[in-house]
Each structure stands twice: as C-alpha cells, then as structure tokens.
Amino acid sequence: MAPPAEVLAVRGLSKTFPGVRALDDVDLTLHAGEVHALIGENGAGKSTLIKLLTGVYRPDAGDIVFQGRPVSFATPLEAQKAGISTIYQEVNLIPLLSVARNLFLGREPRNRFGLLDFARMNREAEETLRGYGVRVDVRRPLRSLGVGAQQMVALARAVASEARIVIMDEPTSSLEPREVETLFSVIRRLRDEGIAVVYVSHRLDELYAVCDTVTVLRDGRRVHHGRLADLDRLSLVSTMLGRELGEVRSEGLTKFTGDHHATDSRPVLEATDLTVPHQLHGVSVSIRPGEVVGLGGLLGSGRTETAKAISGALPTSSGRVTVAGVPLRGGSTPAAIRAGVSLLPEDRKSEGIVPGLSVRENISLAVLPRLSRFGLVSEARVDSIVNTFIERLRIKASSPQQKVGELSGGNQQKVLLARWLAMNPKVLLLDEPTRGIDVGAKAEVQKLVDELAADGLGVLLISSDLEELIEGSDRVVVLKDGAVVGELTGDEVTEDKLMRTIAGDTPERDAVGEAATDG
C-alpha cells in the first residue's frame, strides 16, 4: 500500500505564555485517513497545540504546513473554512436554533430568491444525521436533544463542512456507551474517506480501539510519537506521566514521612457506590482516622468528582456516605461540613479563596456562625482563631487585613487549610493541595498533612504528583474512567504498581497482548 498523502506537517511549534513555556518545539505529522491519538496530562500542552492549529492562538515559532502549503490562521473560522474542524468537550452550537439550522449554520442552502430553503435543509439534515445514528425531528431546537445526540450533530457539522482534519477534544466525556460505539463507527468511516482525525482522550480503551498513531506530550514537549500498536498500555502510561518503569526511586523527595498508621478502628468516612451520570460509576472509598488515602488515576479518571461527591458539592444519583457511622444527606455541602468533612478544591482560585476579602475574613468564613451570637460576630474570638492559624501555618501576609487575592499560591492554600482546620474537621479531602505552589510552601503543606494525620484526622489525598501521592499515602485507591480498578496497600504503594494498575496491567493478565489486538 502506498503511503497516504501528508495532510498536515507541523515543525518546531512553540508558544510561550507569561511565565510558562506551554509548547516547546513540537512536531506533528498527519496523513490522510490517519486516526491520531494526542495525549498528555494536565498542562502537557494538548489544548495549546489544538488552539495553535485552529487559529485561536498564534505560534511564537514553528511552521504549520497544511495540504502542502504553509498556513497561518488568524481566526478559528479561517481554519474551519480551510478544512480543520474541531469538536470540543462542550458542544459549541446554538441551543435555541433547530437541529437542521445548526447543522447548516453558515452554509445554509438557499432557494432562487436567496432565502433559506428550509424544506431542503430539513430533508438533507435528516439524511445526514441518520448516518450518525441520530433519528430526531430536525425542526426541534437543538437543546431538546440529549448531550450525546448534540455531540453527534456537532460532529456531523464538522465533517459536512468538507473538513480534511477533524480534531476531537474528549468527544466521549458525555456519551453513553452505545453512543461511543456510533462515534467510533463514524471515525472509521472518516478514516476510510481519507480524513485525518486527531483524537484527544484519557480513556485508554478508546485510544486503543480507534487510533492508529500517537503523540505523547509532557510539559510542552513531544516525548513520544509512533504507531500506537507498538506501545503497550503500561509504556503509554509511564511515558505520559514521565516515570521510568522499575526505576528505583530514592525516598525522601517529599516532606512526607509516611509513618503514620491508622489506628485499627472503624472508618471515619465510608463512601459506598457513589454514582454520578457520565462521571462516576459506583466508586467506594473508606478512610480510617489517622490514615492518608491516596486517589490515583489519570486526568479525567474521576478523582476530583469523587472528592466533590463525598463533600456534597456534586449531586449523586446513587450511593451513600457515612461519617463516623452516621449517614450524610447527599448533595449538601453545609451538611457535609457540619458532619466534619471538608474539601480543599482543586481550583483554588475560583472555588477556594474569596479573593476580594481579607485573610482574616477568608480564614473565619466557614467557622463564623460558631464565633457569633444571635448573628453578631465576636471580633475578639475571630482574631484569636485567625492569629492562631496564621502563626501555626506560618501564613505570610502583610497583615490579617491583606486581601487573599494578593497572596502567593502557597499562602492562599494555607489560608484555605486554616479555614477548614478552624472547623475542627474529622476528614479532609485534599484535591491537588500542592499544585502551582512554590517548593517551600509545598514542603510545608506536605508536612502539615502528615501532622494532621498523626493527630487522627482522616485524609483523602489527590495529586498528579506521583511522588507526593506515593510517599504521602498509606493506601492508594486507583480510579479509571470513573470506577475503582484497584487498591494498593502496604508495600504495594509504589509508582510502578500504580502505573501498572492504571494501565490495567495486572500480573494475572498480559495487557501487552490485549492492547495490540485492535491495531
């Protein structure tokens, strides 16, 4: 078979944002009919690369050659007109227009008076969508469709606009299994028609089911590319996370001592069968007092959702949470907090701190009702608590009156920890507690988590930093695609074992052979 034509050749693409080298000298080649997996963890540069290809950003350096010609798209519309279509996680169509209008948006058929030819539009829309497994009245507004069907309309629209390249950014995140199958058959049809597909997903099964080739990005660089069938799951995971297999790691890279042990008492927190449509499928986790339980898994595996579901911030469709044996009313953050469960959210800036309020007000925010009588705040008691925690956590602020938004990331995180510690919680759920904070503050936060566990607090730790997760946790529950796929205890808590579990590579099964079957 003669090699298919090259559709896209990207050479040395770089992009720097203030303080971050988001993409560094990245190459990417796409051939007609190639389904290319683009993968990487948070901040690896996937979305930057996509945005450079589609004209959202302009590159600082590097060339994009599309169908043999160097291109420089100024807007996403230009890229789309040239033949590069993108389907985002969230459907970017117009909810109130009809399905047919959405499908033909910008290239509507006209009749001889130059007016929209609705009859033809509806007829063609119905035909087109049938090929995508969507059978609906195309005159209905788009928003009356399910999310999966909307995604299919977006896909049909992208393909119908004579695309040569279709970029799919986590297209299955809101699809039912049956819809995923339809999507895959559409992708295979695109492949047969000679259209190149860039497929971004964290679901390994999907990658191996539809992709031919793969590019792995890490910290803005391309760290691997080639045929996907040549790369088994375990190598894929370790490449993505930047960890060598079987590498002997020196301990003590983090401030965790890891020598606190759960008193063998009953769990302080038990989450059973937590289910959130499309996100969690029956996740169970239990934490004993004095124990740090890590949640392992790739981006999008359901770690954050598990923490949020436990804390009542994400409504569950089924499952239950008990704290010290007492069942918790689901879907209520105040109820969880009253019961002693506190969440340090992943998105510190938008969900954690109240940026315009002072350090003092941020620390006392949750505990305020306890420091008040008849709704009147006791300023003396607030001062005493605030000063205690500023000292204990060594929060560096010019004064307790300084706005939290002006502090460094590390100090903001300490303020949030202080907010919860002031509540005297039983369980702390820490979602990426050290992401984006400086080394010194990171070590302090790690040490603090250790101390808290030693004092008998139950801790759930989520971290993309494998060292932190491994050294900080007594036990690691591993998630994949919203379900628990394994649990590491005792001597098993190693990076190696964690990556094997994420890759689905248990000693009883030969995952390499399994991975290669669908090439």
């Binding site: 804390s311 911030a313 953050t333 105040p334 969880a336 907090i337 009253r338 969440l343 959210p345 938008s350 969900e351 954690g352 701190i353 109240v354 940026p355 315009g356 309020l357 007000e361 006392s364 925010l365 949750a366 305020l368 009702p369 008040s372 709704g375 009147l376 705040v377 300023e379 706005k403 938004g405 002006e406 907010r419």
Partner: protein, 320 residues
C-alpha cells in the same frame, strides 16, 4: 486576574482611579457645596439644607437596600414598585390605625422580597430579570389596590412626614439610623460577611458551606422592606397616596447612588458611607441645576456624566 489587571495599568494611574472610586464621591459633594455657597443665593440656610435632606432621605433608604443587593452581584429593579405598593396599602389600611397599616405594608413588601429572592436563589433567574418581573407586576398590583391618587388625612401619618425632633425632621433621623444599622450589619454580622463572600465568589462561598440561598433571599427581603419604609415616608410627606408616580425611576436613582458611592457592580464589596454620599451628590447636582433655572433635561445629562465617571473609576479595579 487582579494582579494581571494591576500590572497592565500603570501604577500611578491605577492608584488615581482607586482613589477616585473610594473618595471621588466625597470630593464631588464637597465641590458642589463650595460652588453653591459661592454662586447660589440663599444656599447657605438651614431651611435649604432641611429641604434638600428631606428630599434625599427616601433615596438614601432605598439605596441602602440596593447596596446590599449589589454587594451580592445582583440588582433590585422592583424597589420603585414596592414604594408604590407601600403607598397603596397604607391608604387602604390607614383606617385601622397607622401601626396596623404599617404592619400590612411590611407583609406585602416581605412577599415581594421573598418572590425576588426565591426567583434568584432557588430558580436561578438572573437578578435583573427576576426583579424586572416584580417591578412591572408590583406596580400593577399597587394600581389594582388603589387606582388613583388619594389624599390621606391622618394626623399620625402627617407628623411622621413633617414632624421633627430638636429641629431634625423624622425623615432624616430615620434615614440616618437605618444607614448606621445597615453599615453595622455589613461589618459586624455573619449575614453581612456571608453576603460579601457570596458576592465576591459564589462557587467558593458554596464550597465553604455558606447558606447561600438563605442569604440571597434575605438580602432581597431587606431591600424590599427598606423600599417600603421609603414609600411610607414619601407618602407621609405628600399626605397622599400616589401609586401611579411614586417611586418612578427610583431604582435608577438608587443604583446610581450605590455605584457613584464606590460599590462595584461586580459584588463582594459594599460601601454604605459612599452610598449615602452618592445619593447626596445626585441630590445636590439636581438642586444646583434647578436653582440656576436649567431645564430638567440638563439634570439627566449631568447625572449621566457622573455615572460614566463612576463606572470609569471602577474599571481600574475590574473583576478578579
């Protein structure tokens, strides 16, 4: 984001804007006082100050509630309608005595506030839309209850409108006490702090376990109750219930006073002293132009200029 915004604007300019937003309103009031003392005949008289203060009192009272609502990143367009409703209900129930009438007014206002709050906090309607509904509907109900202007002859009500203590009219005293009370609520109560946190970052407030819905509903109830107080006082001063025109455009005057007073529309901060000064500024501006025989349309243009200046000053801070 806040850091980035400050970095892009040169520091001295950012500082000047911040100064303007915080203190500009007081400078404006001082300037107008000086100009008027210099050029307006009979300006510097107790009688004139009394007239000005009595006129501005209802605006201040409504603006206090508006400041709280704006502090939650909301807005309450229904305050004028609540004033009209208060006027109608006062007229209908005054026969039972002033106190019973006022209690019924409070119930009506609380219902409007609850409706606003429920639409915003429970249903999730945009504040501007939710309160627009009550703005139109509220005045409608007021006119159904009392279709036309009605003179009220009640000595108690009349004394509330024109009486005084030691030469200070009740209207001014009530406005002053309410301003102090609201300032105290903002600074010293859990409700005040929670309100600011919700206005600054709703997701963070929610995850911190604050009773977000309860606080939002209460804010709209407080706003409606304050508007009702203003409606009763204005009615008492007129000695007539006028649901057709009472409180017309009051929502805009109140929003102007709040914004000019340095409370950002993006929520998270409430400046009560500034709000009072903002209402006084608008009042002085209007009085100045009227006393110099400029047509009323000039007043509106002058108001527009002040609003633009206030919004420009607020831009320096921006939303985080």
């Amino acid at each position: 984001m806040a850091e980035a915004a400050v970095k892009t604007v040169p520091l001295d300019k950012a500082r000047a804007l911040q100064w303007l937003q915080t203190y500009g309103v007081y400078a404006g009031v001082a300037l107008l006082l000086i100009v008027n003392i210099a050029i307006t005949p009979h300006f510097l008289s107790a009688e004139n100050f009394r007239t000005q203060a009595v006129q501005v009192a209802p605006v201040i009272i409504v603006a206090l509630g508006m400041a709280l609502v704006i502090g939650t990143e909301g807005v309450d367009l229904s305050v004028g309608a609540v004033m009209a409703l208060a006027a109608s209900v006062t007229a209908l129930y005054l026969g039972y005595g002033l106190v019973p009438a006022l209690l019924v007014v409070a119930v009506f206002a609380a219902v409007v506030g609850l409706a606003n709050g429920a639409l915003v906090a429970l249903v999730g309607v945009q504040p501007i839309v939710a309160t627009l509904a009550l703005m139109v509907g509220g005045r409608g109900v007021a006119l159904v209850l009392l279709p036309q202007l009605e003179d009220l002859r009640n000595p108690q009500l009349a004394s509330l409108g024109s009486g005084d203590v030691l030469g200070i009219p009740y209207l001014i005293l009530i406005a002053a006490v309410l301003a102090l009370l609201v300032a105290f609520v903002v600074r010293r109560t859990t409700f005040g702090r929670q309100l600011l946190a919700i206005g600054d970052s709703r997701p963070a407030a929610q995850l911190a376990g604050l009773p977000v819905r309860r606080v939002l509903i209460l804010v709209y109830v407080v706003s409606a109750l304050l508007a009702a107080v203003a409606g009763v006082l204005a009615t008492a001063r007129l000695q007539a219930s006028d649901p057709t025109s009472l409180g017309n455009l009051m929502e805009l005057s109140a929003i102007t006073a709040v914004v000019v007073g340095g409370t950002p529309l993006t929520g998270g901060r409430v400046n009560i002293a500034g709000t009072v000064a903002g209402a006084v500024l608008i009042q002085l501006l209007t009085a100045t132009l009227i006393k110099h025989d400029l047509p009323p349309s000039w007043t509106q243009i002058a108001q527009a200029v002040v609003i633009v200046a206030a919004v420009y000053a607020a831009r320096g801070r921006g939303k985080r």
